[in-house]
Symmetry: C2
DNA sequence: ACCTGAACACCGTTCAAGT
DNA sequence: ACCTGAACACCGTTCAAGT
């Protein structure tokens, strides 16, 4: 019963923080070399830590990956807020999506895992991930309001599409730009509109 | 030295054909239940065959998958040629792409493997796979000629984008349609054009 | 409260021995 | 010519014992 009555999170012990940092550094090194499927045993070994410690800090490989992407997500959130001030909503959105694709492709085999983290009703993800999503959504909403992005689409779908592009381009540097550009301008814009109109159109 | 001098492929022994068929049936069953990452040992066991036999018939998991998709690829090739006769090139292309996405999503975890089979300079894939690609390419070329598909794009990129969509939608039935529709009409068509024009534009 | 690492279960792949 | 399946190497994950 000191001054503050609700300290939900206690300051972690020094060795715990250190182990966490070592694990992240080791994972970054291993993922960079062997891809997102790298041996977790190897990560622990490289970190100079028992496997159990890795599992305690990051119960699943997915958790480890999200932690590795936290910085990139924070940067994307910042960048999104910055681009909100740009005069061209559509281009701002596309620029941001390009950076998203690059960020989730920073390790081989990473993009598919990002896709599962985007999977509908999951626990919403980490704080940086949510910040990234919110920033992107604002950018997308602005593009919709200016008529440069389709009114009927959901931002989560846009993000999934970008994740799919990142996955498809993962083994071919340079493909990401081409695929994103293709998805940006549309594979068959006129026909797609016709198909939607024929199906009843939006309200 | 009988009448024909160049019989490159000899008729396979009956047990070889039977084992191959059993392996494919078993793999189909396993992949349907456990996804494309199903245990290969389990496939061999279910087929009533030694593991070595599986590896002899299908050296890699990728080979097994391509064999499983052969029928679907043949059907897509047929469908592509059929759609070539339809009066609306853009819609025909989109319809075909929708069927492609559905076909490569028939097993969980299958789409990523299809993406690697689309990977640039690989040995071009199986005969059915090439037939599928050729049919799709004809459909795409026609859409380009009619001005309904972007002139600058390569068909292989269109297919990769579709594969990425299939991957992104794999865990959510119904998402494939939405993502394909989004990619068809474009995330931000006007801005994408502006970006391309600013970059110099096509010749 | 956290860490260690041996133990367990499982899988992919090869290859010597068989038919 | 093809098949079998034991053998090998490796990995993820848990959990009893330690500090």
């Amino acid at each position: 019963m000191t001054s503050d009555d609700t300290p939900r999170t206690r300051a972690p012990r020094a060795d715990v923080r250190r182990n966490r940092a070592r694990l992240l550094a080791a994972a970054r090194e291993m993922f960079a070399r062997d891809g997102a499927g790298a041996s977790l045993e190897g990560v622990a070994r490289l970190a100079g830590v028992g496997v159990g410690t890795l599992y305690r800090h990051f119960p699943t490989r997915q958790d480890l990956l999200e932690a590795l992407l936290a910085d990139a997500y924070d940067a994307l959130a910042d960048r999104g807020r910055e681009l909100l001030g740009s005069p061209e909503p559509g281009r701002a959105l596309l620029a941001w999506l390009g950076e998203f694709v690059a960020a989730v492709s920073q390790f081989q085999g990473t993009a598919p895992s990002v896709l599962v983290s985007l999977d509908a009703e999951r626990p919403a993800g980490s704080r940086p991930c949510r910040a990234m999503r919110d920033a992107g959504e604002a950018l997308f909403a602005r593009a919709q309001e200016s008529g440069e992005a389709p009114a009927g689409a959901a931002f989560l779908d846009v993000l999934k599409l970008a994740g799919g592009i990142a996955t498809a381009a993962e083994r071919e540097p340079g493909a990401a730009e081409r695929l994103l550009s293709l998805a940006a301008s549309g594979i068959a814009p006129g026909a797609a509109g016709a198909a939607r109109d024929a199906a009843g159109g939006p309200g």
